[in-house]
């Protein structure tokens, strides 16, 4: 475990200093800061719209950060030959991969945390009529985004053992877009195909592909009640368990491929 944490800590340290990530983060922060002031242009009582919009910005920025950070994680180590020095120590390939993954998740958590903090401060300064429920929803959503982005990082990690960073960037991006729009797509597919073979196929694909809406609370309590017919806490817990299981599967596959790969 010591080796994994050492690699994770170094990865985190390096990630939070990467210029390209800091630029993306700054752009995201700028959007988050200016977005509450846009509410002045809309009618009163539109806090709901504003919360959704800012959470959308937070989510998109986090996703761009997650993909940009993870696609280069392993290729950079090989190109710079740092991996050779590390693997010549008593470090197994799986320890290296898991360490890199945990480090990137740590960096994402730090960045999402920072954006959430800025969003909350901006919100409290500009939206004095915002309720505690709105604040809680932002915090809960941010927590869920960390798990969502971990899942996205796991997928990018798996692809990085097979394809080049550029291809990985597009593949992971497509998976994210598809996984985010999955529910409406499959709902319409299910409705049109009924219960036949096409319906079965769409249900299998629905469960096999990563569904990011399972790990999303942006819709609030109503969404939770509709989804599981229970409390928001249960919905969140289900989402977190789903993300952890799916991410673990991605990592196991990545380790199996990376273990046999020539570096």
């Amino acid at each position: 475990m010591g080796q994994i944490f050492a690699i994770a800590q170094t990865t985190l340290g390096e990630a939070i200093r990467r210029r390209v990530l800091l630029i993306i983060l700054l752009i995201g922060l700028a959007f988050l800061i200016i977005s509450p002031s846009l509410n002045q242009l809309t009618p009163r009582g539109q806090t709901e719209v504003l919360v959704k919009m800012t959470l959308g910005i937070l989510k998109i920025t986090s996703a761009i950060l997650a993909v940009t950070l993870t696609v280069y994680l392993i290729p950079n180590e090989v190109e710079r030959r740092t991996i050779y020095t590390i693997l010549s120590k008593p470090v197994q390939r799986y320890q290296f991969l898991v360490g890199k993954f945990l480090g990137s998740v740590g960096a994402l958590a730090v960045m999402i945390g920072l954006m959430t903090l800025v969003l909350l401060v901006t919100f409290s300064l500009q939206q004095r009529d915002a309720s505690m429920d709105d604040v809680a929803r932002i915090v809960k959503s941010a927590v869920m985004y960390v798990f969502q982005m971990s899942l996205l990082a796991g997928i990018a990690m798996l692809f990085s053992t097979i394809v080049t960073p550029i291809v990985n960037f597009f593949m992971t991006g497509m998976v994210f877009v598809f996984g985010t729009l999955m529910n409406p797509i499959f709902e319409s597919l299910g409705a049109s195909s009924g219960g036949g073979l096409a319906g079965l196929g769409s249900r299998v694909a629905h469960y096999a592909l990563p569904n990011f809406t399972n790990v999303d609370i942006t819709g609030g309590a109503t969404q939770a009640e509709q989804a599981v017919g229970g409390s928001e806490a249960v919905y969140m817990m289900n989402g977190i368990i789903y993300a952890i299981i799916y991410t673990s599967i991605m990592l196991v596959l990545a380790v199996l491929i990376f273990d046999r790969r020539e570096i």
């Binding site: 050492a6 740092t82 020095t85 010549s88 120590k89 008593p90 470090v91 020539e262």
Partner: protein, 318 residues
Amino acid sequence: MGVAIKTEDLTKTYRTRSGKVNVVDHLNLEVEEGEIFGFLGPNGAGKTTTIKMLLGISYPSEGTAWVLGKEIGDTDVHRRLSYLPEKPYYYEHMTGLEILRFYARLFNIKEPERTKKAEALLEKVNLAGDADKIIAQYSRGMQQRIGLAQSLLNDPVLLFLDEPTAGLDPIAHIEIRDLILKMRDEGKTVFISSHELSDVERICDRVTILNYGKVVSEGRLDTLLKGGRIEITAVNVPKGIEDNLRSDGVIASFHDGRLIIDAPDTIATDGFVDAVRSAGGTIVSIIPRRKRLEDLFIESVGGRRVLTEQTEQSEESV
């Protein structure tokens, strides 16, 4: 003395557009404990690939090898060995001290021993004054020295050094060379891959020269470099005498009016001296020339086209 490294038909094959290429071709070698072993060859000869296979970073296509008595692939043996890669790169945001502490963590070395060891090694490689500078501020020589320090963290019994003196200034060059000699005095086995033939000649006990992945020359340096040459220069010698002096292995020719005789040192020089004098010539100099590793290297690989390292890297492993 035991065997530190043994390879048996170790082969690495890459698939290229023109077919399969054995970058390392049925390599058989043995490195004894406590010796400095030079692993030489032109670019693309298969040196780095061999080291990577011995470290378990790359997988052999055929054959196998044993390092410190364990078959390759056993990462537990990495506790007793270390590796300094060619042109190493270290995380630039970390300081010299931090980088050594990071590598020490990979060996599960706990605090306060971790910091104590890192500081002692920084002292050993003359970087104590730069311990708190970030790696991005280190010169090439300093980075090479921090690389050597990280390779000594676990007090290894076997060191793999890939081009340890490449790109260093003369002072840093000598320092690293002395450090390597000190390691042998401490009983460590050092496996050096290098293009710096003068260094290898000074410090190695045995060498293997590789070309196209195959061993083309190997043995103890003192045996391989036996048989130097002797160069005799004479003036006022009439033309035509050189034809009488030439024989097997003896080259005699005129340059700028001077007769130069280049002969193996096993031939007595008296006969040449007498022949020159009796023809009215004067001997200007007799210079014995020891065979150099460079001569042996050129003899061994000379005239053979080699693959470039880039080609080797870009091919697909089989």
